[in-house]
């Protein structure tokens, strides 16, 4: 017998192990060492959340009651996995191409990015999953109870509620910690997947161990087990053909439609080829999980005392035979099954709730609409965290209210039947272009309604949520509306009855309404993209150029993706078009990709709504529709090729255009450079000449003499500085500069820069926002030159920032062997058309400030950074003027020397 407190200690240790594993996986993924985290084995193991505590404990109980029928729950998924090439491969391909975040998102995206459908699917999933989560809590509570009570098969618990509460609380913390680190639901949750894979191994090993012990430890081997089966109450297989096939079908449907399965199978999938491995490895896992179920049930029925709960045989059999450690392992197996299911399920549901309910609501209630969304990222993360906690609280409440009733035992199948209502809309969506939004919405609603009425509500028992009278006589005495005997068909198994009516009416309404309604253009385009997911490129674009400013899009995207990621994405897109900087051309192609990227964070419908605020009225062009309508594959293929070519041409043309512009600019620049030099030299010269002539006037009073001599002195210094700058620039431009490489602390350099710049407009109070802790990092470079750049940027901010309370934010970080320093002020920034110019010589934008240099500062900065192996860029969309300095942690030459 294992003492209760040791059980608690082992449990805690196990949870700590999970935390460590999840944390380590996250760390490795961050460091880019995640290759093995994305192996097909891990993928297959993560699918094992299909096997919940219902499998681990319940399957034995199920077998003890109905013989072999329990295997249907695992045969269904086996059939689906064996047919991966037909359905799953397509789902995964679509999921990746469209950056689908959840099953609700898949449906919403397919049917014209309709949020209504997202809401319906979310509702179905939450309603179906809540009792299922309660079931997991119950199983943990019961299994703890086995250890806590005096007798192994006892039920009484000191405090059942407390156990469930602890488990629910702990799980929500774990899930929030590791499930909401990235906003992008489309990115992999490495920590969680790793923890789940570990749990998958634990539960398999535990069940196999118990099975082996039962077959060879208690019984005398396979032969003996078969004899015992033949002697047991379940010796004759009461196979009911309809139930056998119906349950297999429902389980197959559930594998595709359960939100948690969709999460691990499609959303977390990192490589389509993993499916090929999972196609045999996951059935193998399921087979091993069910292999010993029957022997355990039979031996349990034969050896355990009358009235022992067969649902707990996995635990009580080893305990009754004095195998405390084995029982502990079995307990951990059950614990793993329950926790992994709850974790993934709550992540999947929270993603749906936040993307399809909270965010759209918030955006529609907010003033200014989606145009200026502000910090959507924070909102979505917060709503996801709250949703996780809320879903677990819902599960706990359900458990608490139902009081762990026996009704829960059947809830697994009820839940399966509920989510399988999504199947028609899902399969119709990926295989039939004619499926429409109205059809999907009606079909889903009808199916969901019938399921609620005929299966879900009656499951609470007579006088639970439906009165016994309605159950027995139908509402208001209408016999053919009796929940468990619709349309007068009596005597059918209630589960089959509900599945039959709900799914067949669901499908009929879905198909019928789809045939009768006409899809809108976005639906038709999405339909094409889904059904023809394997064509290289359907060649249909949802957006035409609508005069969107890339900078506006960047500002919005930063609110959703976070500044770093948005900037990286925009930079990469610009580079793809052959452009430098952060602002790509707003081509339809780019807008489409941006929309997908945003959809990965906030869901398709919301992303679409946000983008359409900018590209409004330009959603679908006549040409696009022609392409949709055209059924001729040849034309489509041909035009795709043409498009690819013209795209290539457009890219080259864009690059050429830019080079040409640059050349033209250069020659103009050369002329203006001379004229500007002349102007900059002549201006101080004018003062000097005029005042020296004045000084020649013998009648000039002494005080004036003194003053004018000072002016001459000042202007001479200005002249000298200008000449110095010019010389400096010419040396830097010719790359003949001698660098003095030293090591320094970046923090000290920034301190010095702020100090040195303080005599620029010293009368202004200026606030610096710095994260001094992050600044402490070594940098090996020509520190004097780098300091020169910093001083220039800080004093520019002091000089030109036109905010009432000027502030300068300095952000530093290290990324991929480079140091990045951003200088962001809160002024009005630099207008788009000037952003390209500011690094040119004499490109001073205003003339109001004469105090500074001649407009060579940023040109010199740029040259210095190039000489240091780094660069300086203007960072648009930050609210104010923003400059990004980046340079290697140590000089390139030194790095390569060390590498050699």
């Amino acid at each position: 017998m294992v003492p209760f407190n040791i059980l608690v200690a082992v449990c805690l240790a196990y949870v700590c192990l999970l935390f460590v594993v999840a944390f380590a996986a996250e760390r490795r993924a961050e460091q880019g060492l995640a290759r093995w985290l994305r192996s097909p084995v891990i993928y297959t193991l993560s699918l094992s959340i299909y096997c919940t505590a219902w499998t681990f404990y319940g399957a034995v109980g199920y077998a003890a009651r109905s013989g072999l029928e329990f295997v249907t729950i695992y045969l269904g998924p086996t059939i689906v996995m064996a047919g991966w090439w037909v359905i799953l491969r397509k789902l995964v391909r679509i999921g990746q191409a469209q950056r689908v975040t959840s099953i609700a998102d898949l449906i919403s995206s397919r049917y014209g990015k309709s949020n209504l459908l997202g809401v319906i699917v979310t509702l179905i999933c939450v309603v179906a999953a809540t009792p299922y989560i309660a079931l997991q809590l119950q199983s943990v509570t019961l299994s703890v109870g086995v250890f806590a009570s005096e007798t192994p098969e006892g039920w009484a618990l000191p405090d059942q509620g407390a156990t469930a509460l602890w488990v629910a609380g702990g799980l929500s913390i774990f899930t929030i910690l590791f499930g909401t680190r990235n906003l992008d639901a489309n990115e992999r949750h490495h920590g969680i997947v790793m923890a789940i894979a570990l749990e998958a191994v634990v539960k398999l090993v535990a069940l196999l161990a118990v099975g082996i012990f039962v077959v060879w430890g208690i019984a005398g081997g396979i032969g003996d087990v078969i004899d015992r089966v033949n002697a047991s109450p379940i010796a004759d297989w009461p196979l009911k053909p309809a139930r056998w096939m119906g349950l297999t079908f429902v389980a197959a449907a559930a594998l595709l439609a359960l939100p948690r399965m969709f999460q691990v199978m499609v959303v977390e999938n990192s490589d389509e080829r993993h499916l090929a491995t999972a196609s045999w490895a996951f059935p193998l896992y399921l087979m091993l999980m069910s292999l010993f179920v029957l022997p355990i049930a039979v031996v349990g029925l034969g050896t355990m005392p009358e009235g022992a709960n067969p649902d707990l045989f996995v635990l009580t059999l080893p305990l009754a035979n004095g195998q405390g450690k084995l029982a502990m392992l079995a307990f951990l197996g059950g614990f793993s099954s329950a926790t992994s299911m709850v974790i993934v399920c709550s992540i999947a549901l929270a993603t749906m709730v936040s993307n399809h309910v909270v965010t759209p609501l918030w955006l529609s209630m907010r003033q200014g609409g989606v145009r200026a969304p502000g910090d959507v990222r924070g909102l979505v993360l917060m709503s996801r965290r709250v949703s996780i906690a809320a879903i677990l609280a819902l599960g706990y409440t359900y458990y608490h209210l139902s009081g762990g009733s026996a009704a829960l035992a059947a809830i697994g199948l009820i839940s399966f039947a509920g989510v399988s209502q999504i199947l028609p809309a899902m399969l119709g969506g990926i295989f039939w272009r004619g499926a429409t939004r109205v059809g999907a919405a009606l079909g889903l609603s009808v199916g969901f309604g019938i399921w609620l009425y005929s299966l879900y509500l009656p499951s609470f028992g007579p006088d639970g949520l439906l009165s016994a009278r309605i159950l027995a006589e139908g509402p208001a005495g209408i016999g053919w509306l009796k929940p468990q005997a619709l349309f007068g068909i009596e005597g059918l198994d209630p589960l089959l009855h509900a599945v039959f009516w709900s799914l067949s009416l669901n499908t009929a309404v879905f198909v019928g309404a789809s045939l009768l309604t006409f899809p809108n253009p976005v639906e038709r385009m999405q339909g094409l993209a889904f059904v023809n997911a394997f064509d290289q490129d359907p060649g249909v674009r949802g957006w035409s150029r609508g005069g969107v400013e890339a900078e506006d899009l960047l500002t919005m995207s930063q609110g959703i993706l976070g500044a770093d990621e948005a900037q990286e994405f925009f930079q990469a897109e610009a580079a793809r078009q052959g452009k430098g900087g952060f602002l790509p051309e707003t081509t339809p192609e780019f807008i489409e990709r941006l929309e997908r990227r945003l959809a990965g964070s906030v869901g398709t419908a919301t992303a679409h709504a946000m983008i359409s605020q900018f590209a409004e009225g330009a959603a679908v062009s006549a040409q696009d529709l022609m392409a949709v309508a055209s059924e001729a594959q040849q034309i489509l293929e041909y035009s795709t090729q043409l498009e690819a070519k013209s795209e290539e041409l457009a890219r080259t043309a864009r690059a050429l255009q830019e080079a040409n512009d640059k050349l033209k600019d250069l020659s103009v620049q050369k002329d203006t450079f001379l004229s500007q030099i002349s102007h900059e030299l002549r201006t101080p010269m004018t003062s000097i000449r005029a005042f020296s002539e004045i000084l020649m006037d013998p009648e000039l009073p002494g005080a004036m003499q003194q003053k004018y001599a000072e002016v001459i002195h000042e202007e001479t210094i200005r002249l000298t500085r200008l000449l110095d700058d010019l010389l400096d620039l010419s040396v830097l431009e010719n790359r003949k500069v001698q660098l003095t490489i030293k090591a320094a602390n970046l923090h000290d350099l920034l301190d010095k820069a702020v100090q040195a710049a303080s005599n620029t407009r010293p009368e202004r109070s200026f606030v610096y926002n710095r994260d001094t802790a992050a600044e402490h990092m070594p940098v090996i470079t020509d520190t004097d030159r780098l300091l020169q750049v910093f001083i220039n940027l800080v004093s520019n901010a002091r000089k030109y920032c036109d905010a009432e309370r000027p502030e300068l934010t300095i952000l530093t970080r290290k990324r991929g062997g480079r140091i990045i320093v951003d200088f962001i002020d809160n002024g009005t920034g630099i207008p788009r058309e000037s952003q390209r110019l500011i690094f040119e010589k004499f490109a001073r934008l205003t003339d109001t400030q004469r105090a500074g240099g001649a407009g060579l500062g940023l040109a010199i900065c740029r040259e210095i950074m190039v000489n240091l192996g780094g660069n300086i860029l203007y960072l648009p969309g930050q609210g104010g003027a923003a400059f990004r300095v980046s340079l290697p942690v140590k000089p390139e030459s030194q790095q390569s020397a060390e590498a050699a």
Binding site: S678, H679, T686, S687, R689, V711, D847
Partner: protein
């Protein structure tokens, strides 16, 4: 009478020098350091001559000159244009005929400024 100069120049030191030169010769000098308000100031001050820099914040000297010439009330006002740009960039014919506008390159001799102002204002 007839000795009022409006000086539009943004470089404070140059403005100070010209003011000294002209004041010493008995001119009343009003100065302005940007181009945006130039036309309004010209209408308000009614000077006898305008000394105008080309590169000004707000508006360039040439723009101001064009506007003056387009305005019948100001088209006859003499303007002395000062510029530090290369002489070849100066428009060959400054707007305005009959010696109403003249160009002087920076740096200038003080005597030249004085002579030009005297001659153009007809004093």
């Amino acid at each position: 009478m007839g000795r009022h100069v409006l000086l539009i120049e943004d470089e404070p030191h140059i403005a100070e020098a010209i003011r000294y030169i002209l004041t010493r010769d008995g001119w009343a000098v009003t100065s302005l350091d940007e181009g945006g308000a130039a036309l309004a100031a010209i209408r308000r001050e009614v000077p006898d001559i305008v000394v105008l820099d080309v590169k000004l914040p707000g508006r360039s000297g040439y723009e101001i000159l064009d506007d003056m010439r387009a305005d019948p009330a100001l088209s006859g006002l003499p303007v002395l244009v000062l510029s530090a740009n290369l002489p070849r960039e100066v428009p060959a014919a400054l707007p305005g005929r009959g010696g109403l506008s003249r160009f002087l390159a920076k740096p200038f001799a003080n005597a030249d400024v004085l002579a030009a102002v005297r001659q153009m204002a007809g004093a």
